[in-house]
């Protein structure tokens, strides 16, 4: 608890360094990753990160010292080499992109694991700190590391800001961009370079295994909140930053999983878990696009349809002079389990119907609503029949599906188009001013 207090009050200079580092990294990874996802290049980041591991090992083997700049340089060289290999495989064989990524990612990562095993056995091997490159260890960041990481992230973000218009164009329509004379290949390469920079500087804090998740998840999460590019990128950056900050904060307070590892829980898994939690939260609870909101909308619509069916059935039973009861209503159409009862309850609450001795009758307000529903239904039927060339025996089924979506505004347009005057056959001769159906009463029953 004391640790936690120290952490959130940022008393510790090292904590400040770590949080600034992972926060800026998350921000840049979120923005660049979102662009890569939109460009369908998300897995390139995965291949790049995994392919970078042998680069770190080779850098240590060559220079025999733990130096972040050298490690990152090695990582960059091998990461780019991996991506080039992948492109070559795709270009010169019939192997598809996903398989090419798997080949490169697996082989380079395997080589990296083998080399790091060899290094661990060297006398100087323990000092290499290679284990932190697997799953990330933000706690290992020192001030100099922070400067490198923050500078790279700011560079990447500036790149996106400067080339926003160009990246948007190429991301949406590559061929059109080419037809305007934009150097499409160069712009793609620029995005890939920014992706490579952010990926490589993210390795010490997040690790090669999970770096791709920090690139991909924030961008996908943002999609639940907006459908415009600028807010999409901003939100992706925000989610990435939150993941970085919360993940590294958690790693500082959680106990280390095993004593052989130096102080602190690996940051990579925690950062990615935070990102994953934000994703699941958005997936479920985002307004309009979240599952809960969509489920609610679908439910409300279904209830609306049930309510209208009930009113229509009641009216038609009344029209035919049959007293309505639960059983006569249940016979008229296939209700989902409990939906007739629920619709009746809502109608009773709404005072649209009364229930006396199990006989259900429309009230005055219920009658008004029922008339409107029936009018929509029959006007739509008539419109389908007269203007859309639908055969009469097909009309009722189609009308049933669409009529619930007919707004008063649309209804007025139907009336206008059907040129319903005072001599309107639909209006005259109908009880209570309700139009006659194309069908005799009762035929609608299914």
């Amino acid at each position: 608890m004391n640790d936690f207090l120290r952490l959130i009050t940022l008393q510790d200079a090292n904590t400040r360094t770590v949080l600034l580092g992972t926060g800026s990294l998350g921000l840049a990874a979120g923005v660049i990753g979102a662009l890569a996802v939109l460009r369908r290049r998300a897995l390139v980041g995965d291949a790049l990160a995994h392919a970078a591991l042998p680069g770190v090992c080779v850098a240590f083997l060559v220079f025999r010292e733990r130096s972040l700049p050298l490690f990152l340089l090695g990582a960059l060289v091998f990461g780019v080499l991996g991506v080039l290999t992948m492109n070559a495989i795709r270009r010169f064989t019939r192997i598809k992109e996903d398989a090419a990524i798997a080949i490169v990612l697996g082989s380079f990562f395997g080589l990296g694991i083998m080399l790091s095993g060899m290094i661990q056995r060297l006398p100087s091997g323990n000092r290499a700190g290679l284990d932190s490159f697997l799953f990330g260890k933000a706690a290992g960041m020192v001030h100099a590391d922070l400067l490198i990481s923050a500078a790279a992230c700011i560079l990447a973000l500036l790149g996106v800001a400067a080339l926003y218009k160009e990246l948007k164009l190429v991301g949406f329509d590559r061929e059109f961009a080419g037809s305007l004379g934009w150097p499409v290949g160069f712009l793609d390469l620029t995005l890939m370079a920014l992706l490579a920079i952010v990926t490589v500087v993210g390795l010490p804090a997040v690790g090669v295994v999970l770096m791709a998740a920090l690139l991909i998840i924030p961008g996908v999460t943002a999609k639940f909140w907006t459908d415009r590019l600028a807010p999409h990128l901003a939100l992706a950056g925000l989610f990435g930053m939150l993941s970085g900050l919360l993940g590294s904060a958690l790693s500082a307070v959680l106990p280390s999983p095993n004593s052989s590892m130096s102080r602190g829980f690996p940051t990579g898994p925690l950062i990615v878990l935070v990102a994953g939690t934000l994703f699941v939260g958005s997936l479920l609870f985002a307004p309009r696009r979240g599952l809960v909101a969509r489920w609610r909308t679908a439910r409300l619509l279904q209830q609306h349809i049930d309510d209208e069916h009930l009113l229509r059935d009641l009216y038609e039973l009344q029209e035919a002079g049959t007293p309505a009861s639960l059983s006569t209503l249940a016979e008229r159409r296939t209700w989902r389990t409990g939906s007739l009862h629920a619709a009746l309850r809502r109608a009773l609450t709404n005072a649209d119907v009364t229930d006396r001795n199990a006989v259900i009758t429309l009230t005055a307000s219920g009658l008004t609503r029922a008339v409107r529903v029936i009018r929509s239904h029959r006007l739509w039927e008539l419109y389908l029949h007269e203007h859309a060339g639908v055969a009469p025996d097909h009309v009722d089924r189609d009308a049933d599906l669409i009529e619930h979506f007919i707004t008063p505004n649309l209804l007025a347009k139907f009336e206008a188009q059907l040129a319903l005057g005072d001599a309107d056959p639909l209006r005259t001769g109908a009880a209570l001013g309700v139009p006659l159906s194309l069908h005799p009463p009762g035929e609608n029953a299914r």
Partner: protein, 272 residues
């Protein structure tokens, strides 16, 4: 649909002569030729169709004119110059399926992209560009959809948005890849009206077209393609039953057999 200013063509724009000259063009993917020895000229002010069976290289021809594909041999001239000199005069409507309609942009964003060609690096669209985009959107009857996300559009509406983007370019030559593909009858008519309005303003339109029934009534010039050029010229002379048969097969000529051999690949003679 015709409220675009008919005087907006710049005085330097040619109004007669050849709009696009394709000279002995050969294009290959992975060394497999997909267009060979195509030699065709589209006159300025024509409303031209490129027709041919699937895989005949129609889209490839458009993309080659636009410089989007490496040319194996031959050359393309637009208004008598190389494309890079006159790029601002050329607008392109790609196939609708070529892009991701889930991309997070609005209808207006997409139309505004028609102005990106004249903007240059780093510059953001100005008010004049926004006005041009709004006018283009209006002329295809899509103003009400300006703030919609593009995934909420029907196929016909998507096609109109692409057309509006090209109109916003205010070009002299319009190259369109199947502008009528998968649209409803009403959209087809309104797109046709836009194309005819472009032609009346002295602009040239070249469109890949797949519906042989409407070629004669929609277009006044045709290029018939099946890897090689079968025929090209005014509709009345070039769009003949004989040329159709030669384009779409029927009787197998030696050339058709070679075409088939190329399609199958592998059977091409290898150089030792």
């Amino acid at each position: 649909m015709t409220d675009r200013d008919s005087n907006s063509l710049s005085p330097t724009t040619p109004t007669t002569g050849i709009a696009v000259e394709v000279h002995d063009l050969t294009v290959a993917y992975h060394r497999k030729p997909v267009l060979w020895d195509v030699d065709v000229s589209f006159p300025v002010g024509s409303l031209a169709a490129i027709v041919g069976p699937n895989g005949a290289g129609k889209s490839t021809l458009l993309k080659s004119i636009l410089g989007l594909l490496p040319i194996a041999s031959g050359r393309v001239e637009v208004f008598g110059k190389s494309l890079s000199q006159v790029r601002d005069l050329v607008a392109y409507v790609p196939q609708r399926e070529s892009v991701d309609w889930e991309f997070p942009v609005s209808v207006f964003d997409v139309v505004l992209m028609g102005r990106y060609g004249r903007l240059g690096w780093f510059r953001r669209p100005a008010k004049a560009d926004r006005d041009a985009a709004a006018a283009a959107l209006h002329s295809v009857g899509m103003s009400d959809f300006r703030d919609r996300q593009i995934s909420q559009l029907s196929g016909g509406q998507q096609q109109r948005v692409f057309l509006a983007r090209a109109l916003a370019q205010d070009a002299t030559l319009y190259l369109m890849d199947e502008p009528f593909a998968g649209v409803d009858a009403a959209t087809e008519q309104s797109i046709l009206e836009v194309l005819r309005a472009l032609q009346q303003q002295g602009r040239t339109v070249i469109a890949v077209h797949h519906d042989l029934q409407t070629v004669r009534s929609y277009f006044d010039f045709v290029a018939m393609l099946n890897l090689h050029l079968v025929a090209a010229g005014p509709i009345e002379t070039a769009f003949s039953a004989d040329n159709l048969k030669r384009t779409y097969g029927g009787r197998l000529t030696l050339l058709d057999e070679v075409t088939e051999a190329v399609r199958r690949g592998g059977t091409l003679p290898r150089s030792p």
